[in-house]
């Protein structure tokens, strides 16, 4: 009964270096590979920006800042000013956010505070499904169903009620002519598409608000709504702002649905009811026709603008959303 059984163990080199080498055979390539994968992801982000910057060189050099300030898009005459698209993008996206914000917040409040637990997963899932439907399907539904059945009647009503330039001279946003395909249609469909983003993230933000805050408010004799409106929402405000910015970011970059319902007319108009054009849709629409290098470069520069704004919005939004979760430890007195 001695311990001479040690001879049965596999001979491992007794020096420390030897043992270290043995342990990591296969580990060094593994570690290298996973680090490379991670770096490639970061590299992608950088690469997108770099390539777009480089390839939009021609227009950046010839047009300079007028690219974003000039209200004239003339491919034939090779004059490229992207202002109509920038304005169109901002109009439709802001309209979408204005509609989706109260709705998304209401849904988030309902799901986070009021909904019975069993219903919460099902209903939340259904709202998220809205985000799963592809943009091109939204577009088709927009053209054949939504515009004729909803946007057209509503738009016509708005135009007839508020759009008379004699009665409402200072309200150009509801003036005609109105053909169905319009900024309004794009704004409404975008609102539906970004609703899940705003509501899902807001819901997570609200769920992260510490329970003791709600309890403190209720213990003071607040009603449920007063607790939500005056304590929970303010606590999560930065996160909700982040959700809204993310929604805005999504709306800015939406291509297919917008292209199919906005009318694609590069003319600046103050009216919601007139057709419009966004940055993403002009790229999609006119790509096939861009024969000259300058034309292609102009479209690529629009892509660059989209990239930069989307990047900035995403970064700001993520930071805001993370800030609510980090607020909680501060509570410890």
């Amino acid at each position: 009964m001695t311990f001479s059984a040690s001879h049965k163990f596999k001979r491992v080199s007794s020096s420390r270096v030897g043992r270290a080498l043995h342990a990591s055979r296969g580990d060094i390539p593994f570690k290298t590979v996973i680090i490379l994968s991670s770096l490639s992801l970061l590299g992608l982000m950088v690469g997108v920006g770099v390539m777009l910057w480089l390839r939009s060189g021609p227009t950046r050099e010839t047009a300079g800042w007028s690219f974003v300030t000039l209200n004239q898009w003339n491919p034939v005459g090779e004059v490229f000013g992207a202002l109509p698209f920038i304005v169109g993008t901002l109009t439709t996206s802001l309209a979408a956010v204005l509609i989706a914000l109260p709705l998304g917040l209401g849904i988030a409040v309902f799901l986070a505070e009021l909904c019975p637990l069993q219903l919460r997963t099902v209903v939340g899932f259904m709202v998220e499904l809205l985000a799963a439907i592809p943009s091109v399907v939204y577009g088709a539904w927009g053209i054949f169903v939504f515009i004729p059945a909803f946007v057209a009647p509503v738009g016509n009503w708005l135009m007839n009620t508020f759009g008379n330039p004699n009665r409402f001279p200072y309200l150009p946003i509801f003036q005609g002519p109105f053909f169905g395909a319009s900024n309004l249609a794009a704004g409404l469909i975008l609102a539906v598409m970004i609703l899940p983003t705003i509501s899902a993230i807001s819901r997570d933000v609200l769920l992260a608000v510490p329970r003791v805050q709600r309890e403190a408010a209720l213990a003071l004799g607040s009603t449920e709504w007063e607790t939500i409106w005056q304590v929970v929402l303010p606590y999560g405000l930065s996160g909700i702002l982040g959700a809204v910015i993310l929604g805005l970011g999504r709306a800015l970059g939406e291509t297919m649905a917008v292209t199919m319902v906005i009318g694609n007319v590069s003319q600046l108009s103050a009216s919601l009811l007139s057709p419009g054009y966004t940055m993403a849709s002009v790229i999609a629409n006119e790509w096939g026709e861009s024969r000259t290098p300058l034309y292609a470069s102009a479209l690529l520069e629009i892509g660059l603008l989209l990239f930069i704004t989307s990047l900035l919005l995403n970064i700001v939004a993520r930071l805001l959303v993370w800030s609510v979760a980090r607020k909680t430890p501060e509570q410890r007195a």
Binding site: G26, P29, F30, V33, I34, S37, S38, S40, L41, L42, L44, M45, G47, V48, M51, L52, R55, P102, L103, I107, F110, L111, V123, F125, V127, L129, L130, A132, I133, S135, V136, V137, Y138, A140, I143, F144, V145, V192, T223, E224, W225, E226, W229, L246, G253, T255, M256, M260, A280, I283, A284, W287, L300, G303, L306, S310, L311, N314, I315, A317
Partner: protein, 296 residues
């Protein structure tokens, strides 16, 4: 030290205001429920239209024939189905390994500079407009060599990557530390631990991640406009343009011919069905997993 003299009732409460508070509470809470219902309306409406219009234009021939001009009946979308399959299949082959490997790094080293940067980068990448991704792939792959199926796959792979990374990372985090430590304590090297212990424990997570990633790109059109371009021919060549269901949907929806419009709805039905099955399936798998227990 009594201060009861100063303790008079200052708070003036009115019965009317109290009633207003209670009523306001009911109204606002009810409103949020109404809003939720309102959000479900477009979902139901779209699904209804897709199913109704799509199924009336659907047929076996539609799925098995390739392109024919409208004068010859319109044909089918087999070429697009094949194209979509190739594009997504290749994209998955590229995105899944890179995504899993990245997720390994991030779940093991979440707080290193690289780990934080990658997690942040994944979030940001997932927010990039898909059209921008398409333009990027154009600049690196198409502008020299022409439109190709491979370029389309690369674009889709870039879109799938964040989904795979995020889902896999979440699942790896759920694997109990004890499992990993047990493997390492037995003398297994890191890479074996990762592949033979952690990954199998996270299999369902990887599968759901793949499903969600495919659902994400199944309907993507914009990036393909600049990469795969689309085609009316049945092709499996990777270095030439290739057809794809969403691209054909886009073209047919805008086509003046009613035959094409109806076909567009049928394609929408195919895509939406696929997306629904993948999303619901992924959810159900995740649910089944959590009710069964953490590992496997």
């Amino acid at each position: 030290m009594s201060e009861s003299k100063s303790h008079q009732r200052r708070l003036k409460r009115s019965a009317a205001h109290e009633r207003f508070r209670r009523a306001g509470n009911r109204v606002m809470l009810g409103l949020t429920g109404l809003m939720t219902l309102l959000a479900i309306v477009p979902l139901a409406w779209i699904l209804l239209e897709v199913f109704m219009r799509g199924s009336s234009a659907m047929s076996i021939e539609f799925l098995t024939d390739t392109f024919k001009p409208t004068s010859m009946g319109g044909g089918g979308v087999w070429h697009a189905i094949v194209g979509t399959g190739i594009l997504i299949g290749l994209a998955a082959l590229m995105a899944v390994p890179v995504g899993i490997l990245t997720a390994f790094y991030v779940s093991e080293h979440p707080n290193t500079t690289l780990g934080l940067a990658v997690r942040f980068g994944t979030d940001v990448l997932s927010g990039l407009p898909s059209i921008v991704v398409g333009l990027f792939v154009y600049t690196i792959m198409v502008s020299g060599q022409g439109y190709s199926a491979l370029a389309g796959s690369v674009a889709l792979a870039i879109l799938m990557l964040p989904v795979v990374v995020r889902t896999t990372e979440e699942m790896l985090k759920l694997v109990p530390r004890s499992l990993r430590e047990a493997s390492l304590a037995l003398g297994a090297p890191e890479w074996k631990t990762s592949f033979q212990v952690m990954l199998p424990a996270a299999t369902t997570g990887v599968v759901t991640g793949l499903m969600l990633a495919v659902a994400r790109v199944a309907g993507e059109t914009a990036p393909l406009l600049f990469t795969a371009l689309g085609s009316n021919n049945l092709s499996t060549a990777l270095d030439k343009p290739i057809a794809s269901l969403p691209l054909v949907l886009f073209k047919y929806a805008l086509d003046p011919s009613r035959v094409r419009n109806a076909q567009a709805w049928a394609i929408a039905l195919v895509i939406v069905t696929l997306v629904l099955i993948l999303n619901i399936g992924a959810r159900l798998i995740a649910l089944w997993r959590t009710t069964r227990g953490v590992t496997q």
